[in-house]
């Protein structure tokens, strides 16, 4: 198993190649990789040993398709053994093209069908609050196309209305939504109009991602729009 603290970008590349069998594409082919790496490497208060601790931070991958970057980071951080990466979606594999929380240690939600993670994240944040567990943050990663699903807008409006300050949404924007999110303010405006704080960052710049993720304000949920290359 790779030692969590010594994993370099090169090692992560190796894990991704092992997972996808793709020798040509580098890590940059994965739109979510940098955000997920920054979360697990610098922000999330969760380790393989605390994966079930009530006061851990939660990371919910709502955009469940294309989870290669997620699996690679989970392997790099020791949540799953590296050799799980060798048989993606095979008959004996615990890693599929969409992650299943009952099969993969450290995975908070099973996802794949779009538009489920943010509602689950709102409920998770409320459940922690109701139990007086006030330190964890709940991070939910979505895609810009996923925002088409109306269920997200139910969650965005409600979380804003109740000022759910322990919730952070991250939208990976690779301009894949069929009709886009036009107008002043773009994606972020769909959140801020409901009372969220927002930051839009370069989704490949680790320091910018980190600064964006830590720019949440008291009394309101926070969204980070992470802009990456347009989907080919």
């Amino acid at each position: 198993m790779t030692a969590p603290t010594t994993t370099s970008a090169v090692a992560l590349d190796e894990l991704l190649r092992r997972l996808t069998g793709d020798e040509k594409h580098s890590a940059s082919a994965h739109s979510t990789l940098d955000v997920i790496w920054v979360l697990y490497d610098r922000l999330l208060r969760v380790t393989p040993d605390t994966a079930d601790a009530p006061d851990r931070d939660r990371f919910l991958l709502s955009k469940g398709h294309g989870p290669a970057a997620y699996y690679a980071v989970l392997a790099a951080k020791g949540f799953v053994p590296d050799d799980w990466l060798d048989d993606l979606a095979g008959p004996e594999s615990r890693l599929g093209h969409h992650p299943d929380r009952l099969l993969v240690p450290g995975v908070e939600i099973g996802s794949g069908s779009l538009g489920h993670g943010l509602g689950l994240g709102v409920g998770t944040a409320l459940g922690l609050r109701a139990q007086g567990i006030l330190t964890p943050r709940v991070y939910v990663l979505l895609g810009d196309a996923e925002l088409d699903e109306g269920s997200n807008h139910e969650a965005i409006a409600y979380a804003g209305a109740i000022g759910l300050s322990t919730l952070t949404a991250i939208v990976i924007d690779n301009r894949s939504a069929t009709h886009g999110w036009p107008g002043p303010g773009g994606i972020a405006s769909r959140f801020t109009v409901n009372g969220w704080s927002s930051v839009t960052v370069d989704g490949r710049d680790h320091d910018a991602i980190h600064d964006g993720l830590t720019a949440n304000q008291p009394g309101r949920p926070h969204v980070v729009v992470a802009v990456v290359e347009e989907k080919e």
Partner: protein
């Protein structure tokens, strides 16, 4: 039954810090005092039913026991994929409590009817479905449901039998025919019209408020060669389960319940019961024709 649900839930919220109530405006005014006392555990998300189930799933993921409530058509039909994925696929449960199932909301029309809710749960794994026939059956069922973490659907109706039955989840015999007599199983509020319908007939009548999991052992013990199931939701919803349970014996099965066709009429629940053949007279007609 709704009053009984409100009173029991209000008490549960006070007694058990693990319980939480998720609403989508429906019944919110009835829970105003509970919401004032437990603002972190009485959550009205507004008219957002997808979110209502998602929030329930998230609460359960943190170890709480959510009670999620609305009209059947909104909490079940509309939020079906959330029930499948935000609860079932996550491996967590909730207590979903509906009102206005089938044609209780007849004057509101088809948009407020849900005769297919129990059939939808039959497409999912592990759900207990409970259909009380009297308000006094509600507190016990609800209190038992919040004691564990499994998924439970509690289907409340404005139709009621005159008396409460069913201390446990097994079939309860209320009228015993001669050995081998046809067995009539009545679910929830169908009991009283069924008892009226079979007056004078040599049949055994058994009652259940818990059609899922169906008491197949009780069914096998009581059934002769003729079985009639009277359900307050889509006719035939339980026929696959009954057929499977009785696959080892030759039998004939009559499944009575709400018809599939949209009636496209308003009127009262009594009118709809008559149109679907679920009043005493209609049931008598169907049962007599079946028994010949």
């Amino acid at each position: 039954m709704r009053d009984s649900f409100v009173a029991t839930t209000t008490a549960l919220l006070a007694d058990d810090p693990r319980t939480a109530l998720v609403l989508a405006d429906i019944s919110a005014s009835a829970f105003e005092s509970a919401a004032r006392r437990h603002p972190d555990r009485v959550l009205n998300v507004g008219i957002r039913e997808q979110l209502m189930i998602g929030v329930g799933g998230g609460l359960a993921l943190t170890g709480m026991r959510p009670i999620v409530h609305s009209y059947a058509t909104f909490v079940v039909d509309r939020a079906y994929e959330q029930i499948k994925l935000d609860l079932g696929h996550q491996g967590v449960g909730a207590v979903l409590v509906s009102v206005g199932a089938s044609y209780d909301g007849s004057t509101a029309g088809r948009t407020h009817m849900s005769p297919g809710d129990v059939a939808l749960f039959d497409t999912l794994d592990g759900w207990t479905v409970q259909v009380p026939g009297h308000p006094d059956e509600v507190p016990g069922l609800l209190r038992a449901a919040v004691q564990h973490d499994d998924p439970v659907y509690l289907r409340l109706s404005s139709q009621s039998n005159r008396a409460a039955y069913g201390g446990d989840t097994r079939l309860q015999v209320l009228q015993r025919g001669t050995p081998g007599a046809p067995l009539v199983v009545a679910v929830g509020p169908m009991l009283d019209p069924t008892l009226m319908a079979v007056a004078g007939l040599d049949v055994t009548v058994a009652y259940t408020h818990t059609p899922r999991p169906f008491d197949v052992d009780g069914l096998r013990t009581l059934a002769g060669s003729e079985v009639i199931v009277v359900e307050p939701y889509l006719a035939g919803t339980s026929s696959a389960i009954v057929s499977r349970a009785l696959s080892h014996v030759p039998h004939r099965l009559l499944s009575l319940g709400v018809g599939q066709a949209e009636v496209r009429r308003y009127g009262s629940p009594e009118d709809h019961a008559r149109w679907h053949g679920l009043d005493a007279e209609g049931l008598r007609r169907s049962i007599s024709a079946f028994l010949g």
